[in-house]
């Protein structure tokens, strides 16, 4: 095995791999941080509409310094561009779009995800405060919830686990998880391995995962 020294995909590769799953015509919401990288991915001739919680429907790439429209940011506060056919709505209408099931997929970062499809991304252990933002609305209401996260914590502890220890954002909603180690799908009993990153073998992935990994 060549994977001993590999940590698998880099951040952009993880995002690119997940973005390959976006289907033509989807409305996609990208969370702050890692998920934002998905909008850098070349989506070919697929027609994808990016929606942001702050009411921007149909945004495009981040603009370079000096070319920004200072009145326009995505959910992560980045100054983005607009695609032809874009529309702006207020926050209540924007979350109306979310709650009424119009978001085909939301991509979020997470601290933990469980085999049952629960995930946690709003409060760390021991903290009094947390950051929910739009994550609970999106998690409860988007048609699909995809996660993008490093396979382990900096201390090497697994983030793909049997049960979440942190307070959850929503239960039983996650259908696909991309990490630096590969692409995984919660099955209830564990995680189905959809794909492993180059240089990552099943044993390596298993050792870094807190729930059974089920080969495809």
């Amino acid at each position: 095995m060549s994977g001993a020294a590999s940590t698998g995909w880099d951040r952009q590769q993880m995002a690119d791999r997940l973005a390959r799953e976006f289907q033509d015509g989807w409305i996609v919401n990208l969370g702050v941080g890692l998920p934002t990288l998905c909008s850098n991915t070349d989506i070919g001739d697929r027609d994808i509409v990016y929606h942001a919680e702050n009411g921007v429907i149909g945004y495009g790439p981040v603009l370079p310094p000096g070319e920004e429209d200072l009145h326009l940011v995505n959910a992560g506060g980045q100054n983005v561009s607009l695609q032809p056919g874009a529309a702006i709505v207020h926050h209540a209408d924007s979350f109306g779009i979310i709650r009424s099931g119009r978001i085909d997929v939301t991509v979020m970062g997470a601290y933990e995800v469980s085999a049952g499809g629960d995930f946690a991304n709003w409060r760390l252990a021991g903290a009094k405060g947390g950051g929910i933002g739009g994550a609970m609305d999106l998690a409860a209401c988007a048609r699909r919830v995809f996660l993008l996260l490093e396979h382990t914590t900096r201390k090497g502890e697994p983030r793909l686990v049997a049960r979440c220890r942190l307070p959850v954002t929503a239960r039983g909603v996650v259908t696909l998880v991309a990490t630096n180690y590969g692409l995984f799908a919660p099955t209830g009993e564990g995680f189905a391995v959809r794909e492993l990153a180059p240089g990552i073998d099943l044993a390596t992935a298993r050792a870094a995962t807190g729930a059974p990994l089920l080969p495809a």
């Binding site: 919680e53 506060g77 207020h90 979350f95 950051g131 609970m136 609305d137 929503a170």
Partner: protein
């Protein structure tokens, strides 16, 4: 018998009568729509025991712009209702979070869509509604839920405000507002939810009738006071981070 107009000459005058204990909503999402000038004036005005409603208490970036975190540091805030009591990135520490963790200010953490809908409900005369958001989470513990068509929903109440502090792009003397791009965010909802909406306006304030009635984002009947933002450096225009980058 003409009543006093809505256009005021200074931020200080527009805020002078905000009492201690007021419930104040602050517009803005990550910069656009944030009422920097009104917030700075409120720091000077000094009203205390405020309840502040906003998406965030301000960012972790330096140098800082006037934000709710500063009002907290200034001893003006009793409680905050927001969707972030800590930053998204664990390594960022919000000034507010330190006070909150120390128990010096109360906070009510609300999912962003629920926050928007509770403000909209207040403005629309809807006292309560059900939402799927936060069901099964710690935020729903001990609270009333209801199963409708086989799905579980959480009961949420309207969030009315005494005052809304907002920033808009254009306005006319009747108080009609236009926001530009993502500046809109919470503005229309907070204007509806508040009894007194005070707005800092980027463009010179137009005479009533100058804006197309089809193109109004917040109708003037929701807006009581307008202040045109003076040129920099007297007026605050962009975030300081943006100003530095130019």
């Amino acid at each position: 018998m003409a009543r006093p107009g809505k256009v005021m000459q200074s931020f200080a005058a527009a805020l002078a009568d905000i009492p201690d204990g007021a419930v104040i909503a602050f517009g803005g999402f990550a910069g656009p729509g944030t009422p920097y000038n009104l917030t700075r004036a409120l720091l000077a005005q000094g009203a205390k025991r405020l309840t502040c409603i906003a998406n965030t208490t301000g960012g972790a970036q330096q140098p800082r712009m006037p934000d709710i975190g500063m009002l907290v540091e200034n001893g003006q805030v009793a409680k905050v209702v927001c969707s972030f009591t800590a930053a998204t990135r664990p390594s960022d520490v919000l000034p507010f979070t330190r006070f909150y963790e120390a128990g010096e200010v109360e906070a009510e953490l609300v999912p962003q869509g629920t926050l928007a809908e509770r403000l909209r409900a207040a403005g629309a005369g809807i006292p309560a509604f059900y939402t799927p958001t936060a069901v099964g989470t710690e935020l729903a513990e001990g609270r009333e839920t209801r199963v409708i068509n086989g799905r579980e929903y959480l009961l949420e109440y309207a969030l009315p405000c005494d005052v809304a502090l907002l920033r808009a792009w254009r306005a006319d003397a009747a108080g009609n507002l236009q926001y530009r791009r993502s500046q809109r965010n919470f503005g229309p909802l907070m204007a509806m939810a508040a009894r007194l909406a005070i707005v800092e306006v980027e463009e010179p304030i137009l005479p009533a009738g100058a804006l197309d009635p089809d193109q109004i984002h917040t109708p003037g009947i929701f807006v009581q006071r307008l202040v045109a933002i003076p040129p920099a450096p007297e007026g605050l225009w962009t975030t300081r981070r943006q100003e530095r980058a130019r």
